[in-house]
């Protein structure tokens, strides 16, 4: 399913080498997954957003029970599930992870617990496309880096459009931007199956097997999990889970050699189906949004906390960098320049990965919050340093000389004369950067934190509602930034005036002198 794990090879490589055999915890089975993965895999329970449901959740919980362990869920971005596993954020990972030769190089997989195929979908009125063959020369949408993407590419002659998520792809199919879509069958059933404007066509395409990822060195755990899967299959418990979610298929019947009729009602599937019914009143919608508030509130708090700590760090460290660069001795100045250029020249995303997944290599293991705040803070420090520098060099040299002539030391002159004037100049750009940081803090979702943007993704996939949820989240971001926007405006109005004075004075007097020099 979904984006290939190799996509972030960088993070994987960093994470690879700390494969020390860890003490498996006796009581807990910590498992990593991404709730943004959506139905039917794992997603927030529409009735209670604090709960996570999905057939994969039921499977891992059944396995944990089989092993006599307590399941503990750890949230991580889907792209980072494998690096997170290697960083020992959790013991195993399950989230529709495809067993492929590439993935097997990084981690071990259990025996497959589910097998599925790809499903082609077209608009209801389409009569020309009934197979992949018919898609040649047509526009087909699918998920980025997924098995389906690979299949389309190998088939050839198809114009491929790549999406981050299934909801937007199906919207584009309905509104005519796409001629067809190709998705994993469970996704197709849950996200397009209820849409009256979409129909499924053609035979099963390809074959995918999902397995549970375990660190290479945890051979004992792998054996136990395989045993549990076999036991759950033989006891019919797995079959019941698949029936509840309406995921049983002829392919699975063959896989499990189980040709019995349905063993359980499709309750979970029906609940989902209920949710997709178009008659949904304004009142219901508002009630649903009100239910979002605890989740969004917690996420907004995370966003704010990370941003403020990061900004304080950026302001303090940026100041040290700027003073070192402008006034420090040559080697120190060069070091500061090197830092600033390196940090500004590399993506902050890479820096976050490096700090969170890379540093454990040399024994520095930071919590997600510390890693996020430090990562963003060190990154923004480079930009703040340049702000400060602009401020420092815009204070006229004559101010430094005036202070030195009064027998102040260089440092005293900086502290009492130059820096106070520079600070007034940089306050407005500083405030602007904080607002920008507030938005950049959404990147911390890659290191397992649930910030506002991540919460948006989770809620939107759960409810199939990017529009209303998006407006709410945008509103929250605006609200968070508002006090700082106002502060910036106030600072600009009040302080820019004072700060410009020294410069203005110098300019006008220089003009005066120039005109006087004419006499001589």
């Amino acid at each position: 399913m979904r984006r290939s794990l190799a996509i972030l090879g960088f993070a994987v490589l960093l994470a690879l080498s700390f494969a020390l055999p860890g003490l498996a915890e006796q009581k807990e089975l910590r498992w990593g997954g991404d709730t943004e993965g959506g139905a039917p895999y794992m997603f927030q329970d529409p009735k209670d957003t604090k709960r996570i449901i999905g057939y994969e959740v039921e499977i891992i919980e059944a396995i944990a029970k089989q092993l006599g362990r307590k399941p503990v869920f750890v949230q991580n971005g889907w792209d980072n599930l494998i690096p997170g596993l290697q960083r020992k954020l959790y013991d195993v990972s399950i989230d529709g992870l495809e067993i492929t030769p590439e993935h097997k190089q990084e981690v071990n997989f259990s025996i497959p617990y589910y097998a599925t195929f790809l499903q082609l979908a077209v608009r209801r009125d389409n009569k020309t496309i009934t197979s992949l063959e018919d898609c040649r020369g047509k526009v087909v949408g699918t998920l980025k880096q997924a098995y389906s993407h690979q299949v389309l590419e190998e088939f050839g002659g198809i114009e491929i459009r790549l999406y981050e998520d299934e909801i937007n792809a199906y919207s584009d199919l309905v509104n005519g931007r796409l001629d067809a879509t190709l998705f994993d069958a469970p996704i197709a059933v849950f996200y397009a199956g209820f849409n009256p404007e979409i129909k499924f066509v053609g035979p099963e395409i390809g074959r995918m097997e999902y397995g549970i990822a375990v660190r290479k060195e945890d051979k004992e755990l792998l054996k136990e999990i395989n045993g549990a899967i076999v036991a759950l299959r033989d006891s019919g418990e797995l079959r019941k889970i698949y029936d509840r979610w309406n995921l049983w298929s002829p392919m699975m019947a063959k896989e499990f050699n189980d040709y019995r009729p349905r063993q359980a009602d499709a309750v979970m599937f029906n609940e989902w189906a209920e949710l997709q019914r178009p008659e949904f009143t304004f009142r219901d919608r508002m009630k649903r949004y009100a239910g979002f508030m605890p989740v969004l509130g917690r996420a907004a708090l995370t966003t704010m906390k990370v941003s403020i700590v990061a900004m304080l760090l950026a302001m303090a460290f940026g100041f040290v960098l700027a003073v070192a660069r402008v006034f420090g001795p040559k080697p120190l100045s060069k070091l500061a320049v090197a830092y600033i250029e390196t940090i500004r020249g590399t993506p902050v995303l890479i820096q976050l990965f490096f700090i969170f997944y890379g540093l454990p290599n040399i024994g520095i293991k930071l919590s997600p919050f510390v890693a996020g705040a430090v990562g963003l803070g060190l990154n923004y420090a480079a930009y703040e340093a340049e702000n400060y520098r602009a401020g420092l060099i815009s204070v006229p040299k004559a101010q430094m000389e005036g202070a030195l002539a009064l027998a102040m030391t260089r440092w005293q002159a900086l502290r009492h004369v130059v820096i106070p004037q520079a600070f007034r100049l940089v306050l407005p750009p500083l405030t602007n950067d904080f607002i920008s940081l507030l938005k950049d803090s959404s990147l911390v979702s890659v290191i397992t934190m649930v910030d506002l943007t991540k919460a948006y993704g989770q809620l939107a996939t759960t409810y199939y509602d990017y529009f209303g949820t998006g407006i709410i989240v945008a509103g929250i971001y605006l609200l968070l930034g508002l006090p700082f926007v106002r502060l910036a405006r106030w600072a600009e109005g009040r302080l820019a005036k004072v700060g410009n004075m020294a410069r203005l004075e110098e300019e006008t007097t220089e003009e005066l002198i120039a005109s006087k020099d004419g006499i001589l």
Binding site: A405, A502, E505
Partner: protein
């Protein structure tokens, strides 16, 4: 000019070059305590650099400068600028006040705060002590009504007088002025020059780089004429202006005939 006075300032073979070339070429001069000396000369003759070397805003290349017993010397521009040299320069600066052409007041501080900053930071005076002294000095330069104003609200003449009070607050033995009236409107020049006259009457040693020929002639004990990085002539004002010994002095003074004298 009382001959019994000991020299307060002794400059010996002072040389200074910038990338563009030599600016000061073996300058030697002694100045006695209480003297008021004007330095005149064409633009680019090195007179401003001379002042800046005297209070070590520019570190000399070679030669020596002694002021009130503190000596800064260097054998050649190839000698490294040692910490010891910088320490001496810092000591020397405490004996010397410098007033700039464009005032260099600190725009983020009031007039009073401008004056008390250095005594508090450098001399560790208490705020009370520094303020008492500052108010006395501001009264002396006629700024008692401007104590709490922002420098930006002052006229040019007021700004320069505030700058003088600020320099005096460090209790220097010598005051240096780098074209102190060049940035002022003509009607404001007088009030600044009057402050210098008052200080002279109190016995302050002062060196003024200036284009105010009339002031130089009337108020100075003697005048130093500089040209091309050298001291060409040192003489009493009346003699230098009416009967200069050197051809270069005569050439320079020709510009001012009938005009400013």
């Amino acid at each position: 000019m009382a001959p019994s006075n000991q020299p307060l300032i002794v400059v010996d073979n002072l040389c200074k070059s910038f990338e563009q070339g030599e600016v000061l070429n073996h300058i030697s001069i002694s100045i006695r305590e209480g003297d008021l000396v004007s330095v005149i000369g064409p633009s680019g003759c090195g007179k401003s650099t001379f002042l800046r070397c005297l209070n070590c805003l520019e570190i000399l290349d070679s030669g020596s400068i002694s002021i009130a017993g503190v000596t800064v010397s260097r054998k050649s521009p190839k000698d490294p600028i040692t910490d010891d040299l910088l320490e001496k320069a810092h000591l020397l600066r405490q004996e010397v006040g410098l007033v700039f052409q464009i005032f260099n007041l600190f725009p983020h501080k009031s007039v009073l705060e401008n004056v008390i900053l250095a005594p508090m930071v450098v001399k560790k005076e208490s705020r009370e002590q520094a303020e008492d002294n500052a108010v006395r000095l501001l009264k002396k330069v006629g700024l008692e009504d401007c104590i709490h104003r922002d420098p930006s609200t002052l006229s040019g003449g007021q700004k320069q007088r505030a700058a003088i009070a600020r320099a005096l607050a460090m209790n220097p033995k010598v005051m240096l002025y780098d074209e102190p009236t060049s940035a002022l409107d003509p009607e404001l020049v007088k009030e600044v020059l009057q402050v210098m006259r008052d200080l002279d009457a109190e016995g302050m040693t002062q060196i003024i780089v200036t284009h105010e020929m009339r002031f130089a002639r009337k108020a100075s004990d003697y005048i130093v004429f500089m040209d091309k990085g050298e001291i060409v002539e040192v003489d009493d004002g009346d003699i230098l202006f009416t009967n200069p010994k050197n051809e270069r002095t005569r050439e320079f003074l020709r510009h001012f005939e009938g005009d400013a004298l």
